[in-house]
Symmetry: C2
Subunit: 476 residues, 2 copies
């Protein structure tokens, strides 16, 4: 019977109806990577434990309540580092430490936007990260409406002198967050494109999918933005309102923008690190970022990532005996304002990069994981199946070998370290992301537990699996 | 067959299984109030037209966009009156005018609350209407947590000296809005009860059902509040946060509150009135309130009411020939801050109250109408069935004869004028009510049309029906 089934599957595979892996699923040849019976049982026990986990919630509640908002480089982020050290020690992690680095600092002081005429009224707005200030007292000008960034980019190099640009482009709601890439281009380019053409400020419709009057902040301007003018995001209802005002007015709509900011050339920030020592000094590096934007308490971005990865590592660490590889949890600093912690980590650890077997970050909220992506060396891709099989009972579907990994491990990945992505459902993520509404009540405890279960299973397999995941091409 | 059915229904009615009215539904006796065949056809035409109405949306969009927020007594409310006059004239209403009155003025200037220790962070807060200011620079104190207003009321008369009271009572989500009555008691009593006991300020959990960081404002303190201390509402997530901070801290939680307000003993406000003259000088008075709280653009509270009643009156006015009774649309002023417009209307028109046949207000958002309540004189209650029958095709169910009518017609009702309530589904109303989120995007155009259809049918029947609705007991 088995032989007949195998023959039938082989024929189907030849016809392209099923994948070759289905053919071999019945009896994997000895050389295919697989868990031992005992390892498979341990994975199941870890998943069971993860699905009943309360530690992640406790970590999440503690960080968001006791520290609250924690902007990269701020005194609040420093308090978060102390919190992180205390928490990792309390949970029994070893080699707990802060690795500091220096970074430039930006913070909002005040922000306001109003329609001056013909329909005077305030609009809900937030300064975008890195924006320069307006002159004190603000800057006024006629609003020029662009439905998309492309329309602004297609505008002539002159003709916007003294005007305020309004880029009204909406953002697509997607499960995988792919709408955000486009939105980030709008957020980071509007001020530069506006400035090039002589405009005095740039407003954008928030990079967000909700309909609440909580505008979405986010990084807008970094190194290349020499021509960037003051820039801020309107909430979606306020962008609607401004667009309607322009539509209904029979005269130019005049808007006044007043942004005041605080900057410093260099402040100290840091990454918080803790480890579960393994039998070898090979490293599996996981974590989330410790900083948040200032508007909310950063529950989904990214206290959840901190909580999920710490709780998962603790579950694996609580198993009898040491893990084969060392598990390193990193709470990266200052991600939002320029990925300073992630870059500093890679720089500080470049001499031990060959010991980094695999890296992964949780930084997309607390929605259920629905897909598992890898970025392994081509010759090691077959190992993805071991993870995929173990995660199947959590309703996680196999993905591809083009994993992003996470912003904070980008620099590590660029040094050749393979990464994975445990991809979370982000359908509602951009309703909250970078707004005052990023608070604890938005997290679903059951979804959080599913995350912990998946990360624990992933982490255990990554630690125990025979052989590594190869090396990725190094990017200079 | 008919005889048998009637006999069966009579028997069922005697047994209490069906109401007596069902028994007679087959063949109403001549003396029961009813529409003529022609009138019934007109009602159907009005409902058809209402369900395709675009005027209400146009009015709603115009008021919320071109005027925006319009606090009672403010220059913005004065602009709203000009808008109202222009709009009613444009639509062909007659006797369009502003009837002014004087009122005391209160407005917020600035507001902030922060946890000072042990978990320093800002909280999202809004001053409650009528609150006195804190000293400049704010007031700090230990927070004392009361889960309900009842707990605060049960506290001893001393023991809260120098403290900041926090009344954490949540609000029930209900279709009929009945949770609001309890919530208003909390909002209006916390500051008084706190002050009596020596507290320096009172914070409440917002009177609202959402989980966004948009606190709900609303009137807190009026005449009787001699002991009232500065008072403000936290958003629901911030109330959660403060409660968690208190729970997690092993020392007193210190909060600082800084509220600055502006007041004036007397400013001018007014009601905007327009009419569709009838064959007689008997009056049917309908409308909504023109003012809004300052935080949002008052789309659901109460530009929708203005839009629905104006559009419905216009539909009836566009019928061939004059209505039998005069239809008077009133845009009442300054409802939110003390029902000044509604009271001024009744006072100004007390000499023609005997000509007021019926009054009704739309002031519960733009949700679908699901029920029709009356408050007719007992001997005229049978006339409710005429309205109920006509509204049945809009999925509106008969209610009772204890209609509230609306805040702005309270004083009119107290002078003996019968009222009705076209009751709207308020399940989500208190997610938005009195917050920055009360904006146009929250209104469902289809539900708005159902409102217009129901109001047009109601208004026509109220105008044309033979005989009046009696008089209610006069309240001194």
């Amino acid at each position: 019977m088995k032989t007949i089934l195998r023959a039938a599957l082989a024929a189907a595979a030849a016809a392209g109806l099923v994948s070759p892996s289905m053919v071999t699923a019945q009896e994997p040849p000895a050389q295919e990577p697989a868990l031992t019976e005992r390892q498979a049982q341990t994975v199941d026990r870890l998943i069971d434990a993860g699905l009943e986990d309360d530690l992640a919630w406790e970590i999440l509640e503690s960080l968001t309540t006791e520290v609250g908002p924690r902007l990269g480089g701020s005194p609040e982020e420093a308090r978060a580092r102390e919190w992180g050290v205390q928490e990792l020690k309390r949970l029994g992690f070893k080699n707990v430490r802060i690795e500091t680095y220096e970074m430039p600092y930006w913070a909002r002081v005040s922000e306001s936007v109003e329609i001056v005429s013909p329909f005077p009224q305030p609009l809900a707005v937030t300064a975008l990260g890195g924006s320069i200030a307006t002159p004190e007292g603000g800057v006024s000008g006629e609003v020029v409406h662009f439905r998309t960034l492309l329309e602004l980019q297609a505008a002539p190099d002159t003709g916007l002198e003294g005007k305020i640009v309004f880029v009204d482009e909406p953002m697509a709601r997607t499960q995988d967050g792919s709408g955000y890439g486009t939105a980030v281009r709008k957020r980071s380019q509007a001020a530069v494109e506006a400035g090039k053409r002589g405009a005095v400020a740039a407003l954008i419709r928030s990079a967000g999918t909700d309909s609440h009057r909580n505008p979405h902040t986010g990084g807008a301007v970094s190194g290349g933005g020499k021509t960037a003018v003051p820039t801020a995001a309107l909430s979606n209802p306020d962008a609607d309102q401004l667009a309607r005002a322009i539509e209904r007015a029979d005269e130019p709509v005049i808007v006044k923008l007043d942004l005041q900011v605080e900057t410093a050339e260099s402040v100290t920030s840091g990454n918080v690190i803790g480890e579960i020592p393994g039998e070898t000094d090979e490293l599996i590096v996981i974590g989330g970022h410790l900083d948040s934007w200032d508007l909310g308490t950063g529950a989904i971005d990214d206290a959840s990532g901190i909580a999920i990865t710490t709780a998962a590592a603790k579950l694996v660490g609580d198993l009898r005996g040491k893990p084969k590889r060392t598990l390193r949890v990193v709470m990266w600093g200052a991600e939002e304002v320029g990925i300073f912690g992630g870059k500093a980590y890679a720089e500080a650890h470049k001499d031990e990069m060959d010991k980094h077997v695999l890296a992964a970050e949780s930084d997309f909220g607390a929605g259920r994981i629905y897909r598992f992506d890898t970025r392994f060396a081509e010759e090691e891709v077959a190992k993805a199946k071991v993870f995929e099989g173990a995660l199947r009972r959590l309703a996680i579907t196999p993905g591809n070998n083009m994993a992003y990994g996470g912003a904070d491990i980008g620099a590590t990945r660029d040094m050749g370290v393979p990464v994975v992505s445990l991809r979370q459902d982000g359908t509602d993520y951009f309703d909250l992301h970078h707004t005052p509404d990023d608070t604890l009540d938005k997290v679903d405890p059951e979804a959080l537990r599913q995350n912990v279960a998946a990360w624990a299973a992933f982490l255990y397999i990554a630690s125990e699996l025979e052989g590594d995941f190869g090396r990725l091409p190094v990017k200079e």
